[in-house]
């Protein structure tokens, strides 16, 4: 049984080819993928995750606003009692910006050239950690990350 995963496009970014490829790959791996469509506010993304009772949310950003938008989504999730939701990100996120994103609870960051199979392996690992009750959610302070 797959997981319910939201794939979201935060902010003013019209590039969704990557998000759509990921959505299809996750579906083909047996997951139920809810795609938000373009230009969602962080608060809207948190709402979708809540109403859809998703286990994880993947944030795709290529606009350069990741340092603002991704932390906002994380804050919204934590503020709305969704600390157990897993956050991962993809798109154009420079190496230098990643440490900060990991420190606020992002568990994986996938850049250009990532094969879809490594994202699926990450999600398998997430599923395993959930089963073992190991911390993996955005607001759970475990320091675990995928690399």
């Amino acid at each position: 049984m797959g997981m319910r995963i939201v794939i979201a496009k935060p902010g003013l970014d019209g590039h969704d080819r990557g998000a759509k490829v990921i959505a299809r790959a996750l579906r083909d791996a047996g997951h139920e993928v809810i795609y938000t469509g373009l230009r969602r506010k962080p608060s809207e993304i948190a709402r979708v995750v809540m109403d859809e009772d998703a286990v994880a949310v993947g944030l795709s950003t290529l606009s350069g606003a990741h340092n603002v938008l991704i932390p906002k989504v994380c804050e919204e999730l934590i503020a709305n009692d969704m600390s157990d939701v897993v956050v991962f990100a993809g798109g154009i996120i420079p190496e230098n910006d990643r440490e900060n994103l990991y420190s606020i609870g992002v568990r994986a960051i996938f850049g250009p050239g990532t094969s879809t199979s490594s994202i699926i392996e990450f999600l398998d690992k997430v599923s395993e950690r959930k089963k073992e009750n190991l911390e993996v959610g955005v607001g759970q302070n475990s320091g675990w990350r995928w690399d």
Partner: protein, 286 residues
């Protein structure tokens, strides 16, 4: 958290608990809620006619009239991977922000009998949590979609202007269940012609006064009139027996598909040990 406490919170307006309870129902857990006599509209029609966009526009109109709208958007699961791509909500503009709107995407999953055993409890839970208008959206017009919309007391068929004629819908049998037909995309020239030909075909069979309406969901044209028409639909009409028949058949299918003897009987049928009549007899006796 125990389920009773969770139901209490959901009824007080806690969306997170409501969402989790819906997941519980979907995973087969019984959620004890008294019958809430919910108001339900089933919406179906071929892919690409604008069902989700139309539901989005209808939702906005309902919210402006003070209603609280919940949508169950059903999409098929992949028979191969079991996964699903659920993207109806992206066409519903207020789905992610308004506190008077709740949208839940559902995959049909590969349960025996699909979503059927879970729909009733989900609708009932939403009703008892104060959602005054509940919409079930399914794509297509095949038998399983008809089964799903038959769980609603009102059924709306949506068609588009670029689909040739309504014969396709009539073939699938959905026309017989529909209480109201909408031709969306009225901004495209052919739409008036299509709605006229639907009216004509309804009139062939005598005194059929079911409404046929034109809308343009992206331009918000005809939406207020559509809501007016939906609000006055009579639930107890000549189509009610058909709806109950579909619901009964759903329940029957579910019983059959979850019968523990089923796989043995299928093997015997395959090997030629019994014929179809004997197989039915054996199921009947179990």
């Amino acid at each position: 958290m125990n389920i009773i406490a969770s139901i209490k919170l959901a009824k007080e307006g806690n969306r997170r608990e409501l969402a989790k309870l819906l997941s519980s129902i979907e995973s087969g857990i019984k959620v004890p809620v008294e019958s809430s006599n919910p108001w339900v509209l089933g919406v179906t029609g071929p892919p690409g006619v604008g069902k989700s966009t139309l539901i989005g526009a209808m939702t906005e109109e309902w919210v402006s009239r003070g209603e609280r709208v919940a949508v169950l958007a059903v999409d098929p699961s992949s028979p191969k991977s079991g996964g699903a791509l659920l993207a109806d909500r992206m066409r519903m503009s207020t789905a992610d922000s308004s506190s008077s709107v709740f949208v839940r995407s559902l995959a049909t999953r590969n349960h025996p009998g699909g979503l059927i055993p879970f729909l009733d409890p989900m609708i009932n839970l939403l009703g008892s949590c104060g959602w005054s208008r509940i919409i079930i959206e399914t794509v297509g017009g095949g038998q399983s979609e008809i089964r799903i919309v038959a769980f609603a007391d009102r059924v709306m068929l949506v068609d588009g202007p670029d689909r040739g004629d309504i014969i396709q819908a009539e073939k699938a049998g959905i026309m017989e269940l529909a209480d109201l037909v909408v031709v969306n995309k009225s901004d495209i020239p052919n739409s008036l012609h299509v709605s006229n030909s639907i009216k004509d075909s309804l009139n062939y069979s005598g005194n059929d006064d079911r409404p046929v309406l034109l809308t343009s969901a992206i331009n918000n044209d005809g939406i207020s009139e559509l809501i007016d028409a939906v609000e006055v639909l009579e639930v107890n009409n000549e189509r009610a027996p058909l709806r109950f028949k579909e619901r009964l058949l759903s329940g029957w299918d579910y019983l059959l598909l979850s019968n523990p003897l089923l796989s043995d009987i299928l093997l015997d049928l395959e090997s030629g040990a019994i014929n179809l009549e004997e197989a039915i007899e054996r199921l009947h006796q179990s």
